[in-house]
Symmetry: C2
Subunit: 325 residues, 2 copies
């Protein structure tokens, strides 16, 4: 009998659902809107209906399939309590007992579990991706924000209350840029996709760079993809954005290495598509900041999760991890 897990990734606008096999392949997937439901009960009812449809469609293909459980990745998802707590970008407010509510619709599942999206990504890397067999590693997800998931001795670090792994909100530059969380100088304000845009605008302002390929883009328009394209054409501003982003990220990764001494750091997300433009300066900066006992030991690797499916696949990994216990 083939065993599969269901992954649910809850974002501010969209909830993605997929059925994932033991090799991390998404067999079928679907989407529902996150905010267009009046309240949490209707959202849960619609989510459950969508999951049941997927289960039905998979069973039509192959009757000999066992659905082991549902793994959910959500911002501010707390593994211990199964609640989503005061997530700033979600339409359901306050403390939501998500696992409890969803389990009512799936009383026969062996495991229904929840964690935050970056933790789910780290589990996905461990169960299906480049961290297979690693016992100590860290994953940084670079996107609209910077998330992180920490694995120590083969287990995700949740900490005392379920919220460990917020490396994006460590202080990189005291009294530096305003972060989305309203504090100053956090790593996320420098190394996320919007952080790269902010760096491009700072550099254009500094050099008065009317000749940059980025100089005809508005602040709203500019994306990290455009910065990558400009770097490929040799644009000096764009190239320096990658140098600076890497220097900052490497400083942050060194701090994380000094805490945890991981075997590897995995990078995931849009900005990592720029390859060596971002990996090279990051690696150089991390090495520069490391104590001698850590130098030339810690790998920085691109995630092996497929960008489009990573969130679903990561969430589904939680099910396999639960059933290991």
């Amino acid at each position: 009998m083939k065993k599969v897990a269901i992954g649910v990734d809850i974002g501010g606008t969209n909830t993605a659902i997929g059925v994932v096999d033991a090799e991390g392949n998404v067999m079928v997937k679907d989407n529902i809107s996150t905010p267009s439901h009046g309240d949490i009960d209707r959202y849960i009812a619609d989510l459950s209906a969508a999951i049941k449809e997927l289960i039905k469609s998979v069973k039509l293909l192959n009757e000999d399939i066992e659905f082991l459980g549902i793994g959910i990745g959500a911002p501010n998802g707390n593994y211990y309590s199964g609640t989503i707590e005061y997530a700033p970008n979600l339409s359901f407010r306050g403390m939501v007992p998500f696992v409890e509510l969803l389990t009512k619709h799936f009383p026969d599942m062996n495991a229904v579990a929840l964690t935050n999206d970056a933790n789910a990504a780290a589990l996905g890397e461990m169960i299906y991706g480049g961290a297979k067999g690693m016992k100590n590693f860290v994953m940084f997800t670079l996107g609209t924000g910077v998330g992180s998931g920490i694995v120590v001795n083969g287990d995700l670090v949740y900490g005392h209350d379920g919220f460990a792994g917020e490396c994006g909100h460590t202080t990189l530059i005291p009294n530096g840029r305003l972060c989305g969380c309203s504090a100053l100088g956090h790593l996320e304000a420098y190394c996320s996709a919007p952080g790269m845009k902010r760096t491009a605008f700072e550099l254009m302002a500094h050099y008065n760079a009317n000749d940059s390929l980025l100089a005809d883009k508005s602040f709203k328009e500019l994306s990290s993809k455009m910065i990558f394209d400009a770097a490929e054409k040799g644009d000096k501003i764009a190239l320096e954005v990658f140098e600076k982003t890497g220097a900052w990220l490497g400083q942050g990764l060194a701090d994380t290495v000094h805490h945890l001494s991981p075997e590897a750091v995995f990078l995931f997300g849009g900005p990592t598509a720029a390859g060596e433009y971002i990996f090279k300066p990051t690696k150089e900066s991390m090495e520069r900041h490391l104590l001698p006992i850590f130098k030339n030991k810690i790998k920085i690797l691109p995630s092996k999760l497929k960008p489009g499916d990573a969130a679903i696949v990561g969430a589904s990994a939680l099910v396999w991890k639960e059933l290991e216990k």
Copy 2:
């Protein structure tokens, strides 16, 4: 039958040895010089002789005692390999297979284990001190340097290669003060006892503070104890040293909390004797730097280990921890 453990703390000038009971009381202790032995074999032979003398003296008091093992705390002590690796302040150089060498003299001990001094302190706090029953906490030792030990899910975090927990070498101020490790801006350069002295001198220079109680002390002379005494008398420079040290330390602790979400942070070492002078600004700064999900949740506590015996007691805790397995 009463069970006891032996703790050995190896410092640059002095090696302290003690027999510790299950409540963390040091029953007998002794010292030998660390550097005055020509080579590692003679040092190990002398250390073993001193340990055997202590065992004999304890058995004279009470024949019904079982010696469970020897725990060793040493700079750059690697738990996994049992080696002391390139410790900059020790007289024995290179890679020293310490556990292997010592075990030859004690073939009947159930456990001979080694870790670094700050990890040993964290274990001491967990087995005998204020962290009893805690599963997730962090210990910072403030002294000549700043060490740290991290406990996750009830186990010390050693990381991939045994060297995790070097929070003293995270970057607090990019391109800031020269650290003892030769990098710039590390937490240790600000929050160690010498770091406080450096802050006092910076502040006297800044304010041209001829009227400070610290103004008649040379750089060599000034100690963190003198700064504490001056603060008690209301000296403005001394008071500001504590404010700034706490602000820096709180920033660093917030970074650690964002990684690990511990139940508590324990502070140990000379500067913590200043009590609220250091704890209050540290707590305020940490809270200011924390994400909302962590605010007012994380305790900052003074270590409950006795200052004089803490290193021996911490090292001995390694034995109990080994035998738990």
